[in-house]
Symmetry: none
Amino acid sequence: MSPAGSTRWCPTPEQVMILEEMYRSGIKTPNASQIQQITSHLSFYGKIEGKNVFYWFQNHKARERQKLRRKLSKQLQLQHQLYHPNNHHFLRYLDSLASPAFQHLSYYNSPSPFPQIRVDEDAAKAAKQQVMNYTWKFDVPERPDIDKSMMKMYGGDWLMMVDLGHSLSSPPPPCYFTTRPPPLKTLQLFPVTASSLKEECNNSSPCNITTKVALTLP
Amino acid sequence: MSPAGSTRWCPTPEQVMILEEMYRSGIKTPNASQIQQITSHLSFYGKIEGKNVFYWFQNHKARERQKLRRKLSKQLQLQHQLYHPNNHHFLRYLDSLASPAFQHLSYYNSPSPFPQIRVDEDAAKAAKQQVMNYTWKFDVPERPDIDKSMMKMYGGDWLMMVDLGHSLSSPPPPCYFTTRPPPLKTLQLFPVTASSLKEECNNSSPCNITTKVALTLP
DNA sequence: GCAAATTAATGATTTATTCAAG
DNA sequence: CTTGAATAAATCATTAATTTGC
């Protein structure tokens, strides 16, 4: 692991942990004094020099930034594609996603089959604090209207909501409920295409999966 | 297993298997579209809703991280009974880094026990490319003299250099070395205290670690 | 063997933090 | 600097595993 004649620093797990903890705690670019003290502190757990600490923070900061950038640029692009290049089970799963099940969906009324007591509990909770209204963005890139849609939990149900405001004269109401929502309309199901990978389907050439999604609007 | 009137989702073994496979395959935080599709797929094996899938990935990711952290921390505890700073304690540690320690500094002679060959290697490297001679500003705000100090790598060692010129009649020489430095004086060691982590260290009493830091001055 | 009691896992919620847009 | 979206962390709550006494 860390041979005596090794030419480069091999941090021990403890050292890495402490360094990461320091980084998370706010030290991004330690100054000279901090480096000296960190070095002395970490030398308790193994051979280490100041330059190692210095370089570690340099590299770590750079790589965190890099990770963040890549996340921002690629996450939404790649993550919604349900694939992983070197996993055969998953590829077969994707195939199964592509074919039969999703083509048999037809529109149905919002079921809401929860016992009334459950709904009331949720309403009470939501009245106390709005946190139940969890919302997140829906980001299939090929459909701008879907890009702006949301998924939202409401009374134990999860609803996908699409902003159709551009077809209305007045701006649409905000896409969240407070305690009791207005009556809902469930739109007809529409196809959503998601890209998947099969052997040669790299991010450039997506294979289309056709599925259908129920929309609910206030 | 999953009673009809059950209040919470009881995943079937197939559902868990598929979810784990997806997680291993790279899906850590599925978006709305992915959740919808996964839900439809898994509903073949039993009752399931989108929120179940959403929560499953949230919890699984969090608990995988937790498992890793606990594993590492246990390693640390068993090996060295060391501390693992949480943020609160670590901020105190940072405070101790900042100012008061520097008020106890005094001199002692520099050991500088590096083998000659090591110094020559570094000199050769530095001759080829100057990158190793990294210098940066030292920015502890409470001490103007330390503000102007530098850290510099010299012969594999990192030195802190404080400008003491204001006690001299002539302006001090620039705070960096070329190939051979003048004799050095290293400041006396001083204690730095840090404390322990909340979660992983709860069984053992908080173990204060006292370490010492050496400063080297020209 | 078998349940009551206890503990461990894990689903579901709530709170805090982070990042970036306005 | 403030704020909203996203999500990580912490916590609560229920189910499953298991221990234990009979």
